[in-house]
């Protein structure tokens, strides 16, 4: 299903939850909506589901207006599946009944599925690896199993759009990594479009075809995971997604001279977004910076804090009156003097 959002806005009283959102989602595309809590991402998702009505603008699905200021196709009449943050399993139904519910209930379940209900249920349970638990009740399942049931229920009637509202946030860290793989596999096998809401940039970067970064009800940037991570266009995206340091300095065409470095240091940055250029900033991720023995002529700083992380160290480096986060495998001690550079290989995208 292809989806177009045109100038969509939503206000609750005097509070603006969404403002002029424009977004196109292609059939079969996996789109992640990424942002901190309160950025409007859940409102946007609930609008795609049909639980909320936009106060302005309109939403089209396959060309047809499904929501606008005066129209609203309710969720039960849209062909969608949805996975909720806290699973939303019905405590009085077993797993088999959960998967059967949308197949029987949805008026638009394809005839092929309706006619072969049992084999469809078996097929879906197989896909999420729960065939052997079909008679269990929700309270007899672990968190990961519950989320698999929720996914199975959401895809059972073969929706053309699958909505996921922070589906991994109620699971523990290890399980989250495994479930990412499962969601990717569900996406590959069903081929339906997925809109995935999350505040975890790792989830968005690892699974999505495209990421929509939101802040305070507005879209900050839309792009592929690489685009978003390597070429942020706003301060917020740089800090929220790539955890970048915003180095102050000044631009000389495509060359950046960090503040307090004399002019001996120059970083190339043809690809850095216009916003940073006009504000005298250079976004640089902690892993882009390299630490070395202090030497004359470069940027020299002092280690203000160090945290051992296993395969590397997280440093806070104070240099040229600014504090930067740097990730480096080389061990230094607190108060050591170090030089800070960006190696040539890290400038290739810039």
């Amino acid at each position: 299903m292809s989806i177009q959002l045109h100038d969509v806005g939503k206000t609750f009283g005097s509070y603006t939850a969404l403002c002029n959102v424009n977004l196109n989602i292609a059939d079969g595309e996996f789109v992640a909506i990424l942002g901190p809590s309160g950025c409007g991402k859940t409102t946007l998702l609930r609008m795609l589901a049909g639980f909320e009505q936009p106060t302005s603008g309109e939403i089209r699905m396959d060309g047809e207006v499904v929501a606008g200021a005066s129209t609203l196709v309710p969720p039960e009449k849209r062909r969608i599946g949805m996975v909720f943050q806290h699973f939303a399993l019905w405590p009085h139904m077993n797993i088999y009944e959960h998967v059967r519910f949308p197949i029987r209930t949805h008026k638009k379940t394809p005839k092929a599925i309706r006619d072969n209900e049992a084999s469809r249920i078996e097929q879906v349970l197989e896909l999420v690896g729960l065939s052997h638990l079909s008679q269990r009740m929700p309270h007899e399942l672990s968190g990961g199993q519950k989320q698999r049931v929720a996914i199975a229920r959401a895809i059972a009637a073969e929706p053309s759009l699958l909505l996921m509202d922070e589906p991994l946030s109620s699971l523990d860290a290890l399980l989250r990594m495994n479930m990412r793989r499962e969601i990717q596999s569900v996406h590959r096998q069903t081929g339906s479009a997925i809109v995935y809401v999350t505040h975890d940039q790792g989830e968005a970067l690892s699974m999505a075809d495209r990421i929509v970064v939101m802040k305070e009800g507005r879209i900050e940037q839309i792009g592929t995971p690489q685009d978003i991570y390597l070429r942020p266009e706003t301060e917020f995206v740089a800090q929220f997604v790539s955890k970048a340091n915003l180095v102050r300095g000044h631009w000389d065409n495509d060359l950046f001279i960090p503040e307090g470095s004399g002019s001996s240091v120059q970083w190339r940055g043809a690809g850095v977004a216009g916003y940073f250029k006009s504000n005298g900033l250079y976004p640089v991720r902690p892993d882009q910076l390299e630490l070395g023995p202090a030497r004359e002529g470069g940027l020299v700083g002092q280690v203000a804090n160090v945290q051992f992380q296993g395969k590397e160290f997280n440093y806070d480096i104070v240099a040229a009156g600014q504090q930067w986060e740097v990730v480096s495998p080389v061990p230094y001690k607190l108060h050591d003097q170090v030089s800070v550079t960006i190696p040539e290989r890290e400038l290739q995208y810039a």
Binding site: E64, V65, S70, R79, M82, A88, F101, T105, K108, E158
Partner: protein, 585 residues
């Protein structure tokens, strides 16, 4: 898989995927406003108007507005005597309830007593029994023919137990009847106090007693106060206990005084009753507001999580503390109940009781020989069944809107609906008479004196109980349960039938059973509203007691006890059944 026949899918989409045209939407919103207006009007008519009429009558005579009824009251010696009695009885019984309730709650919440479930059931039973059944149990237990007398006569042939027909007796029965309220409130608060707060106090160097005094008590105080105020209100409202135990020895409280005024008729009986009711109502509302504020305050401190694990090991004391608790509870409920039941099995009040003289005659009389009693039982059953159904439907729907679509308007409506239950029953009953004699000037629907007025009164008074249990039940169902059903294609009907009702059932059936049993055994409101042919069970027992026919009143009361046990058993079964279905996860 899904990609195999998307073309079929898409054409299906286009055919079926219609949108609501604008006109349809506005038509449905017109309907919604109509419904809203109707609801608001009905709420005003049934819940607010009666109180307005009552207020008006108390300040009006033929000449116009006047406070003369109040001044007349204040001049009467009797009024002040009743007021004194009321306060002594209400405060005394509240103090007793609080003492019993707090101790029981602390033991049940924090110690490692055994069989807590059973103990809890036994405690709640004291409150579930209608107050007049408990009263009859105690008066037969302590009566000259009762078990206590036989027990005392083992030591001294002339010994007579303490008479229950006294202010002390009223205080005692009221105190034990209401202590479960304090118990439940305090238990809830105590269990929600995080135990790490106590640990923190102990690591800070506070001993056991100091921890209780400086941490547990201050944190539970709002809850305890709220429970205490609730008991204060319940005691003020109670009619059965003072009517059974006080009236025969000329001890009146405000609720029984209003009853006597109205029943005694005489000139301006209604107006005097109304002004007394307004006074009683004002005290009750002041108490309710105070209670409401303390509950709000206690909500601010609670963390929400119940901690059921014991915090204090009683050690060697466990056996005797547990034993004492069982002993006290059995003594205050089971023994008096048995005493009442054995009394109902006697041939005559003075007769000796043994296996050969035991008889079911009284039951035969009550159930089969006297058509008036049978009529009363039928009335009560029909009334409480209809009340149950009406409350179940309206209350559940209202609770749904209250929880899912909260608004100022439905909050206000809930407040209005809670008025009849907040007010003392006798006050509410009088307001019902006033409003239904002539609801709109010039229109007398002629329902005063029929079962219809009882039905309206029951529904109005008990609707809030059903709403509260409905609200609790809905709060436990996350909105995402319904949303998951909606995206699965379920329309409103399927959502209710397949998701909401099965999940709500245990909660609303519990509430419904409470409404049913309360209506079935209702006394206060019925006592003012019944007329010949529309007696209820409560009124009939009251009548027997006033006429001195103790054997019949105890037989009928024993039947009620049986009924309550059956009802509680059914509820237990239902909960077991839904638990097995995974209803509570």
């Amino acid at each position: 898989m899904a990609t195999s026949d998307t073309s079929v899918l898409e054409t299906g989409m286009k055919k079926g995927g219609g949108t609501f045209p604008r006109s349809l939407l506005s038509a449905s919103s017109l309907g919604r406003y109509g419904l809203l207006a109707f609801g608001a009007a009905a709420t005003f008519f049934f819940f607010v108007l009666p109180i307005a009429k009552l207020l008006l009558l108390s300040v009006q005579n033929e000449q116009g507005f006047t406070l003369s009824y109040y001044f007349e009251l204040f001049r009467q010696e009797r009024f002040w005597k009743v007021l004194r009695h009321t306060f002594v009885i209400v405060l005394g019984s509240t103090a007793l309830s609080m003492a019993l309730g707090i101790v029981a709650a602390w033991l049940m919440a924090y110690t490692d007593l055994k069989h807590k479930k059973l103990l809890n059931l036994l405690i709640v039973l004291v409150f579930v029994l209608p107050s007049y059944v408990l009263t009859l149990s105690w008066s037969s237990f302590m009566g000259t023919q009762g078990l206590m007398a036989s027990f005392l006569q083992l030591f001294d042939a002339g010994a007579k137990p303490w008479s229950m027909y006294s202010a002390g007796g009223i205080i005692f029965v009221m105190g034990i009847h209401h202590f479960p309220l304090v118990y439940l409130f305090t238990l809830n608060v105590l269990k929600k106090i995080p135990r790490d707060l106590e640990w923190a106090a102990k690591t800070g160097g506070a001993g056991k007693l100091k921890t209780i005094a400086r941490v547990t008590l201050p944190l539970s105080l709002p809850g305890i106060t709220a429970g205490g105020l609730l008991v204060f209100l319940a005691s003020l409202d109670n009619f059965g206990i003072p009517a059974f135990l006080g009236t025969p020895v000329n001890i009146s409280v405000l609720s029984t005084l209003i009853y006597e005024e109205i029943i005694g008729f005489g000139p301006s009986a209604f107006a005097r009753g109304a002004s007394l009711s307004v006074l009683l109502g004002v005290i009750a509302i002041a108490g309710t507001l105070l209670q409401w504020f303390t509950v709000r305050k206690s909500k601010a401190t609670e963390t929400g999580r119940m901690d059921d694990e014991p915090r204090y090991a009683l050690g060697r004391a466990r056996a005797w503390v547990g034993g004492a608790m069982w002993g006290v509870l059995i003594l205050i409920t089971i023994v008096p109940l048995l005493s009442m039941i054995t009394l109902s099995l006697r041939k005559s009040y003075g007769g000796k009781l043994n296996w050969s003289t035991m008889t079911l005659d009284n039951y035969r009389y009550v159930l089969f020989d006297n058509p008036v009693i049978w009529q009363a039982i039928k009335n009560s059953l029909v009334l409480s069944s209809i009340t149950l159904v009406v409350c179940l439907v309206i209350g559940t729907l209202f609770a749904f809107y209250r929880v899912r679509k909260p608004s100022k308007l439905n909050k206000l409506a809930e407040l209005a609906i809670s008025i009849p239950y907040t007010l003392p029953g006798i006050v509410f009953a009088l307001s019902m008479i006033l409003v239904w004699m002539e609801p709109v000037p010039g229109w007398n629907p002629g329902i005063y004196g029929t079962t219809t007025i009882l039905l309206i009164a029951y529904v109005c008074r008990f609707l809030i109980l059903q709403i509260r249990s409905g609200v609790t039940a809905f709060m436990q169902i996350d909105a995402s349960m319904e949303e998951a059903a909606r995206v699965s294609g379920a329309g409103p009907w399927t959502r209710w039938q397949a998701i909401l009702l099965p999940l709500l059932l245990p909660g609303i059936v519990g509430g419904g059973l409470l409404v049913f049993l309360t209506a079935l055994t209702e006394l206060t409101v019925s006592a003012l509203l019944y007329s010949s042919g529309t007696q209820t069970i409560g009124v009939t027992i009251f009548g027997f007691e006033q006429a001195g026919k103790t054997l019949y009143s105890t037989a009928l009361s024993s039947l009620i006890v049986l009924f309550i046990f059956v009802g509680a058993g059914l509820l237990q079964l239902l909960q077991k059944w839904t638990a097995r279905r995974g209803g509570n996860n």
